[in-house]
Each structure stands twice: as structure tokens, then as C-alpha cells.
């Protein structure tokens, strides 16, 4: 409990550091928002009036805290290009990106854990070798290229989905999930291969341990030893990796969204970057990093539940 509390406090400090960094960076470089909203031909009086209205004359730190508090209330400012609330622009996109990340994460686990166990059990065998060679190759595929390959295979050759035929979740939830399966697979595959390699290596090094020999000598079958004894130890480094992979998945979804034409956070982020629409860029970066930090914190806490040594050391 104390450990969890400590992690939550650390996360909150990190959120403040990250948001402060983002805010100051954008304030230094983005220039005067009043000019970007009214254009360079605006009269000084109008500019000043707008600056007063937007509280741009206050010190940076005051503006930062005002922005942060507003952010937590759900007020993310107004988009420069579209002149509408940033929150209305992005709120209905969050479920899209979140669904994709969650599906990729589940796929990654479903693919990697059985394969990792299987290959370690039959290490050196033909199937193990074939899987490990394939594994090494798939590991080198960037997610957007795996997306293109998946479009080619499932869209053109097998024709089981329509590339670019995105279905909104509010219209047809089943169709939405079916469409999202393919981009999720594209993100999950390269990450899953790394998890397979890690789990396989970690299980193989456990086979020589004394407790495994003891478990065997007590009459356990190989499966019994693996599932009841070894997995609990071997899975620890994999959990750390899965947490890191989830971070990459959330970020990777920005790219894969482009391959499959999915209107999620990534697409708005990219158009806003090219439009220099800073309030939107800031809001999305803060939202994504918030997701990432929460995930990291949860992984740390789950880790301490599985491995009691961690929270024990901390006391």
C-alpha cells in the first residue's frame, strides 16, 4: 500500500514536470498566440485587447498553473485553426486510440506467452528454430510496414476486410472492432516477437535452477513445473517489457492510424503539427503522456504485487 502510494506521488510529480516542460517549450517557440489568431495585419489595440482577454500578460508560471487546472477540468483551450474547443475536437477520438492500444496489448500477450512457453519447452527442435528465425525477421519490421503487409495479405489476397473502410464505433461497434483488429495486429506482431524471445530466454535460464529439479523430483509433469513453478519467476522481466511495450504501442498507434486511415488522436496530432495549431498539439501530447505515465505506474504496482521483494526492499 505504501509502495503504491509512493508510486502515485512519483507519477504526479512526473506529470507536473512533463506538462511544465511541454508548456514552456511551446510558449518559447510558438510565438505570440494573439498574432497567430488575428494575423500580422492586426492593429496593436486589437492585439492588446486579445492579449488581455487571453491573460497573456501574466507571468509564465501563473499561466502554466491556470492552463493545468483548466486542463484537469476538461478545458483545453481553443484550436487556432478551427476556432472550436480543443476538447470537443479530441474527446471522441480518445476511445478510438485507446481501443486500438488495448487490443494490441491483448493480442501481444495472447500471441507471445504461449509461443514463449512452447519454444522454451522444445528448445533446439525444428519448430523452435523455425519460430525463432521468423521471430527475428518479424522483430525487424516497423509497425507501419507490417500494417502495409497486413493490408496486402488480408485486404487484397484474402479479402476479409476493406482497407480504408473504417467504421465508427458509434455506428457499428462490432464492425469497428473487426476493422480495428488489423491495425492492432500490425502493432502487436513486432512487439510480441520481442516478448517471445524474452520469455523463452528467461524460461530457459530457469530450467537449471535447483527448485525446478526439486519440483520434478516430487513427481510433477513438465507442464506442472512450468505453469506452477517456473512461470511465476520467468514472467517478471516479461512484465517489465510489456509495460514498456504498452508505452510504445500507444505512441505507435499514431503511425499505424495513418496506414489504416483511422481518425484517432494520431491523425489530429499530425494535422495540428503541420498547421502549427499549438493548443491541440499540446493537449494531445499531454493526454498521450498521461496515458503512458498511468500505464507505467500500474505496471510498477502490479509488479510489486507479483514480486513481493520489490515493495519489501522499499520499506
Amino acid at each position: 500500500m505504501r509502495y503504491a502510494l509512493k508510486k502515485i506521488v512519483t507519477m504526479m510529480i512526473t506529470v507536473i514536470v512533463v506538462t511544465l516542460f511541454v508548456y514552456i517549450a511551446f510558449n518559447l517557440i510558438s510565438g505570440d498566440p494573439a498574432i497567430s489568431m488575428l494575423g500580422t495585419n492586426a492593429t496593436p489595440e486589437r492585439l492588446n485587447a486579445l492579449r488581455e482577454e487571453l491573460h497573456l500578460n501574466d507571468p509564465v508560471i501563473v499561466r502554466y498553473f491556470r492552463w493545468l487546472i483548466a486542463l484537469f477540468k476538461g478545458d483545453m483551450g481553443v484550436s487556432y485553426s478551427y476556432r472550436i474547443d480543443v476538447s470537443t475536437m479530441i474527446f471522441d477520438k480518445i476511445p478510438v486510440t485507446a481501443t486500438m492500444a488495448a487490443m494490441s496489448f491483448i493480442l501481444m500477450i495472447v500471441i507471445s506467452i504461449p509461443l514463449g512457453i512452447h519454444t522454451s519447452k522444445y528448445q533446439g527442435g525444428v519448430l523452435d528454430r523455425i519460430i525463432m528465425i521468423l521471430n527475428q525477421i518479424i522483430m525487424s519490421i516497423p509497425p507501419f510496414f507490417s500494417g502495409i503487409l497486413i493490408t496486402l495479405i488480408f485486404g487484397r489476397i484474402l479479402k476479409i476486410f476493406t482497407p480504408g473502410g473504417y467504421v465508427s464505433y458509434s455506428n457499428d461497434f462490432g464492425g469497428f472492432l473487426w476493422y480495428m483488429f488489423f491495425p492492432s495486429l500490425a502493432i502487436a506482431l513486432p512487439k510480441a516477437t520481442m516478448a517471445v524471445k524474452l520469455l523463452r530466454g528467461s524460461l530457459i535460464s530457469e530450467y537449471n535452477m535447483d527448485y525446478v529439479r526439486t519440483a520434478y523430483s516430487k513427481g510433477n509433469t513438465t507442464n506442472g513445473v512450468i505453469y506452477n513453478h517456473m512461470l511465476k519467476n520467468a514472467i517478471l522481466p516479461v512484465i517489465t517489457f510489456l509495460g514498456m511495450a504498452l508505452t510504445d504501442i500507444i505512441a505507435g498507434s499514431i503511425i499505424v492510424e495513418q496506414v489504416f486511415g483511422i481518425p484517432g488522436l494520431g491523425r489530429i496530432l499530425l494535422t495540428s503539427i503541420s498547421n502549427r495549431d499549438y493548443p491541440v498539439v499540446m493537449a494531445i501530447i499531454v493526454i498521450i503522456s498521461f496515458m503512458v505515465l498511468v500505464v507505467n505506474m500500474l505496471v510498477d504496482i502490479i509488479y510489486s504485487l507479483i514480486d513481493p521483494r520489490i515493495s519489501f526492499e522499499d520499506k
Partner: protein, 264 residues
């Protein structure tokens, strides 16, 4: 069995890297068509003896473009890793060797940045600096510093209390001398491996950024942008997407196998 496999990885990795290097450098020497030359009659020409990889939607030679693109990806990745390692070593060495409050603060900041996916960090820098080749090198380079700093710091922390460092201190060596001449060479093995992994991540990150259209700017070819252009013609000319993709995979695979063979 174990060493055999490591050797196999090493040889295969080196083989792939040599192949890619030859491919890129021979391609620059051989009289191929200019990567940016447009020829409407060759629009979507399929792979043939004259055009081994075929031609793209503007009738440009895909082979020349893959070679040029691989070259720029290679250079950008090299630049990124250089910035990351250089500043990573300085920050990691100072914080690991001296410790104290500065170390504590820098490592907290480092942790915060480390928790941030590097592609997102690079996007943040690009949105501040604007798109372009040099901007990508700087953005990715900065994004890569924390991971190198963390590794180097760990090594310096481990080494600073070892007997050989104590001896050097007793002999009156300065801190700088101890750091550069005594400890740094001992971190090289770990560093080499992370440089190789970093190089791979840089290749992937560069390809992703140019795929998103914020890396190398057109008309100069880059593997990522070729893939994003090819996507529109995926069913018409799959070769347009497959060859740049294959170039990325080979590059990453070669360095991946090499770093595997160095692991303990």
C-alpha cells in the same frame, strides 16, 4: 550449441550489413538513373531487367530511390546515435561518477523523459523546430540521450568504487583522467551493444517520421515516405511498397543480429 548460435548470428548480421553497405555504395557509383528523374512513359513500369525494382507513380526508378533513401536513413541514424551517445556519455559519466544532488535531479528528469515514448518526444521537437532532415537528427538525437545517459551512469556508478579507480586516485590522477582513461574503456562493451540497439531504433524512428511526412522532405527520397506514397498504389504496384520496406527490414535485421551476438 550456444556459441555456435552466437557465431551464426554474428556472421549473418555482418553479412547483411556488408550487403547493405555494398548495395548503397555500389548503387551510388554505378550509372543508375537519377533518383528524382521523372519519366511519364515509365509510370508503374513493373520490375524488369532494365528496371529491377520497377518504377513509381512518376516513372522514377525505384532502385535508385531505395539506394538514396537507405543512404539518408543510414546517415540520419548515425547522426542520431552520435548525438545520443555523445551527450549521453557526458551526462551519464558526470552524474554516475560524482553523484549527489545534481545526479538526483538529472536522473529524475531523465526518468520523466525516459517514460515518454521517443517517437512522441521527437514529434514534440519537430512541432517546435519544423520538419526537415537536420531537425529530425536533432529531435531524435535529443530523444535518445536519456537512454544512453542511463546506461553510462549505471556503468560509472558500478566502476567508481572499484579498486582500480581507488588506486588511480591514490596515484593522484585527476577526476577527468580517471573518467576518460580508466572508466570509459571499461564501459565500451556495454556501450557498443546499446549503440547497436540505438542505431536500430533510430532507423525505425527515422522511417516512421518520414512515413508521417515530417522527415526528409520531397523530392529527396526516403524509405519511409516512399512507403507512405506507395500505400495509395498498394494493389496496383505492390513492388513500390515491398522494396523500401525490405531495405528497412534488412538494415534493422543486420544490426539486430549483430547486437544479439554481443549479448552475454
Amino acid at each position: 550449441m550456444k556459441t555456435n548460435k552466437k557465431n551464426f548470428n554474428f556472421i549473418l548480421g555482418i553479412g547483411i550489413i556488408i550487403f547493405m553497405v555494398l548495395f548503397v555504395f555500389l548503387g551510388r557509383i554505378l550509372p543508375l538513373r537519377d533518383a528524382n528523374a521523372i519519366d511519364a512513359t515509365l509510370k508503374f513500369a513493373p520490375p524488369s531487367l532494365k528496371h529491377p525494382f520497377g518504377c513509381d507513380n512518376f516513372g522514377r526508378e525505384i532502385l535508385s530511390r531505395v539506394i538514396q533513401g537507405s543512404f539518408s536513413t543510414f546517415c540520419i541514424a548515425l547522426g542520431t546515435v552520435f548525438i545520443g551517445t555523445f551527450f549521453g556519455i557526458i551526462i551519464g559519466a558526470l552524474t554516475g561518477y560524482f553523484g549527489g544532488l545534481v545526479d538526483e535531479i538529472l536522473m529524475r528528469i531523465n526518468d520523466a523523459i525516459f517514460a515518454f515514448p521517443s517517437i512522441l518526444l521527437a514529434l514534440l521537437f519537430i512541432s517546435l523546430l519544423g520538419p526537415g532532415t537536420y531537425q529530425v537528427v536533432i529531435a531524435l538525437g535529443i530523444a535518445f540521450i536519456p537512454s544512453f545517459a542511463r546506461i553510462v551512469r549505471g556503468e560509472f556508478l558500478k566502476n567508481r568504487n572499484m579498486d582500480y579507480v581507488k588506486c588511480a586516485k591514490l596515484l593522484g590522477a585527476s577526476d577527468l583522467r580517471i573518467m576518460v582513461i580508466h572508466i570509459l574503456p571499461n564501459t565500451l562493451k556495454v556501450l557498443l551493444n546499446s549503440v547497436l540497439i540505438g542505431f536500430n531504433n533510430a532507423v525505425l524512428a527515422e522511417a516512421s517520421m518520414s512515413f508521417l511526412g515530417i522527415g526528409v522532405q520531397p523530392p529527396d527520397p526516403s524509405l519511409g515516405r516512399m512507403l507512405s506514397e506507395a500505400q495509395g498504389f498498394l494493389f496496383k504496384a505492390p513492388n513500390y511498397a515491398l522494396f523500401p520496406g525490405l531495405a528497412i527490414i534488412l538494415m534493422v535485421l543486420g544490426f539486430g543480429l549483430l547486437s544479439d551476438s554481443f549479448e552475454k
